[in-house]
């Protein structure tokens, strides 16, 4: 069973082998390292760029304009902020040129907290990303979705931002979440595709015979069906919400966990169906709470589903602070934790209008 980072690597391999990917690049993306999280080890088209985020995104735009299929990595989303201008251009080129030029590129970047990353390795990017129209934005919560979303991102004719929840990158899929074609034994897979420590100059991966598997951009997944409260979440918070829901089930509270998977376009029909069923809604994400993507979802729910609601919708998000502190207690106090999610669902479920 692959980890998420192995799943991403296998998707990139399928991309360059069959789907026309020509350039996978960024800082430390090529050999010898193959990515700080190992996501680009052993790939044919991976190369190292200068330490220049604006240049990385600009290069990707130019490659896309020239008819190549680039996948650019920003090593941590914390360092993407100096490239917002370039991200805006990637997003507006098709519109500004009235359909003359589209920009088919993928930008991938690790996001969020959970690895004790302190102030500059814990940022979230979802609020920022959804403020840049013209992009499609996806964020997986498990290896198989990561694989399927990456393949969809690769074949999409638009710029697609692939946000990687960094705390989940080394987490294995659960039973039933296999990537079609991967060997069942994680040790066997590791032996095939993980670069050895030390000298790697002669090493080549032995890729499993992978099948193409696409997760449509814009389609949410019901991670847990329930009838009492709808939880709208994505990325790292999905397993936390599932854990909270599992505990609450013992108390007779049945939460429905919607893993959005795509932030834009997002799956409004799935959200609507769930809210109409449960009448209560909680949004959970790690980004700072002011001008948060969950706020948008709540605004739309209030505007379009007001009379369906039996409780005020709630947002559980990161504290509106300049950063996430390093010490364990500081990180936990800043970013939503399972206990807080559980309490929020519990309160919503018990709320009487």
């Amino acid at each position: 069973m692959a980890t998420m980072i192995q799943a991403i690597r296998m998707a990139l391999h399928v991309g360059e082998e069959r789907l026309g990917v020509t350039d996978i690049f960024g800082q430390d993306v090529g050999p010898p390292l193959g990515g700080v999280f190992t996501g680009t080890q052993g790939l044919e088209t991976a190369w190292n760029s200068p330490l220049d985020e604006r240049g990385i995104i600009g290069m990707a735009i130019g490659l896309a304009l020239a008819g190549r299929k680039p996948i650019a990595e920003i090593q941590f989303c914390d360092y993407a902020f100096n490239s917002i201008d370039m991200l805006k251009i990637a997003g507006n080129t098709y519109w500004a040129s009235a359909g003359d030029w589209n920009v088919p590129l993928v930008m991938m970047t690790p996001v969020g907290a959970g690895i004790r990353g302190s102030i500059y390795h814990s940022h979230s990017f979802d609020a920022q990303a959804t403020r840049i129209p013209g992009w499609k934005i996806v964020m997986p919560s498990n290896p198989r979705d990561a694989y399927g979303l990456m393949l969809s991102a690769i074949v999409d004719p638009n710029p697609v931002m692939f946000l990687e929840p960094k705390a989940l990158l080394r987490v294995k899929g659960r039973d039933g979440e296999e990537i079609p074609g991967e060997p069942g034994d994680p040790k066997a897979l590791s032996k095939m595709i993980d670069a050895p420590l030390g000298d790697r100059s002669a090493w080549k991966p032995a890729w499993p015979k992978l099948e193409e598997y696409y997760v449509s951009i814009g389609k949410a997944r019901v991670a847990r069906a329930g009838k009492d409260v709808t939880v709208l979440t994505y990325g790292r918070n999905v397993p936390m919400c599932l854990a909270a829901a599992g505990e609450l089930a013992k108390d007779g509270i049945d939460a429905e966990i919607i893993d959005l998977r795509s932030l834009y376009p997002y799956d409004w029909p799935a959200i609507k169906d769930s809210v109409r069923k449960t009448h209560r809604v909680l949004c959970v994400n790690e980004d700072t709470e002011i001008t948060n993507f969950g706020e948008h979802l709540i605004r739309r729910i209030i505007e379009e589903l007001f009379y369906e609601l039996h409780a005020p919708p709630k947002l559980l998000a990161g504290a509106h602070l300049p950063g996430v502190g390093l010490a364990d207690a500081l990180e936990r106090a800043t970013i939503p934790q399972t206990s807080g999610i559980k309490a929020a669902i519990d309160t919503l479920a018990r709320h009487q209008p």
């Binding site: 600009g58 290069m59 130019g62 020239a66 680039p70 359909g99 589209n102």
Partner: protein, 353 residues
């Protein structure tokens, strides 16, 4: 032979004489070439004057352009390997590049349409300012308002041309003030990496101003072309007010880039004859060299055209564009619902969900 650099009035810094000047052989234009270059220069000037008049008459919200750069931009447009795809030149221009596009064969009426933001504006369908062209069939990337971003994007088309060993080169152009942006450094760094040098012609049109701030207030370097030295990028600073000097220099620099597949940094000293934009009044500036007046003086001396003939040409172009602007005035404005067109290349209408 050394490219002649005029002293004093041309605005070429003295130190430019120490630059790499083995840039082709400077020769006087043949009569045929002189006459066609002159006609295009004059047409480009009259065209900018028409745009300014349209702005002043309320037929547009804003004007920005390049009157005063014709002696450089017309030869550039004539020397481009025009077409679509990697075997042709990619152009990443700026909003003073209309003369270059005119020389390539663009219809000036299309720019009048963009000025008037009509639905018929082929570059942006009424979305963008004049001077913001996009012509995919000629590899002209969309021109955008942020200064210097095209220098980070151009490396991508150049990299695609390097990787595919195509015949085309990438041409990127900006002004002097914009070289303070990090994107200019990005272009120098990424285009000069050993073993991965890019076939890119880097052009700086130095009009000695950034909006209202003079060159001296923004730069410490004597010549912008000096900045290539640390990267072993060949470069020169030339008198961009002389079309024969410009032709020889652009031709030689292009030849170098085409054959050596390495970057070249060419700085052209030019005039800014109507200020930065309509924001500063767009009135004619009397204390700068007028490249057309100077070239016309030469043509008279060479007995190629009389003053009367040139006056007649000017009157003819003026009348032609005046008539065109009257026609454009009657063309439809974009419909409000078109704002949703061309957001995504796979869905040209609003996401409905």
């Amino acid at each position: 032979m050394i490219i002649p650099v005029s002293s004093g009035g041309s605005g070429v810094p003295r130190a430019a004489a120490n630059m790499d000047m083995k840039l082709g052989t400077f020769t006087e234009f043949s009569p045929d070439v002189a006459l066609s270059v002159h006609a295009l220069m004059l047409q480009a000037r009259v065209f900018e004057e028409r745009l300014i008049a349209m702005y002043k008459q309320g037929d547009g919200y804003f004007w920005v352009g390049g009157p005063g750069e014709e002696a450089f931009n017309i030869p550039l447009g004539l020397l481009v390997n025009k077409g679509q795809g990697l075997d042709h030149d990619f152009l990443h221009l700026h909003y003073r590049s209309a003369a270059t596009l005119l020389a390539m064969g663009a219809d000036p009426v299309d720019s009048l349409r963009q000025m008037k933001n009509t639905a018929t504006d082929p570059y942006s369908r009424g979305r963008n300012f004049v001077g913001h062209a996009s012509i995919r069939k000629w590899n002209v990337a969309p021109i955008s308002s942020p200064i210097e971003v095209q220098f980070s994007i151009a490396i991508g088309t150049a990299e695609a041309q390097r990787k595919t060993k195509s015949k085309g080169i990438t041409i990127v152009q900006g002004g002097d003030a914009g070289t303070a942006e990090g994107d200019f450094s990005t272009c120098l760094v990424w285009s000069s990496r050993k073993g991965s040098e890019l076939p890119i012609l880097i052009l700086v049109a130095n009009n000695k101003y950034g909006i209202s701030t003079p060159y001296e207030g923004q730069h410490g370097e004597v010549c912008i072309s000096d900045r290539g030295k640390a990267f072993k990028i060949r470069g020169a600073t030339i008198d961009g007010n002389d079309p024969e000097v410009s032709w020889a220099a652009i031709g030689a620099a292009m030849h170098y880039v085409r054959t050596e597949r390495k970057p070249f940094l060419l700085e052209a000293m030019v005039s800014r004859l109507h200020g930065h934009s309509s924001a500063s009044g767009a009135n004619f500036v009397k204390n700068e060299i007028d490249c057309i007046a100077r070239f016309e003086h030469k043509l008279e001396e060479r007995g190629l055209l009389t003053r009367a003939q040139m006056n007649e040409m000017r009157a003819h172009f003026t009348a032609e564009l005046l008539e065109a602007s009257k026609r454009v005035r009657k063309e439809p404005q974009p419909l409000p619902e078109t704002i949703w067109d061309y957001v995504y290349a796979d869905k040209n209408r609003r996401e409905v969900n």
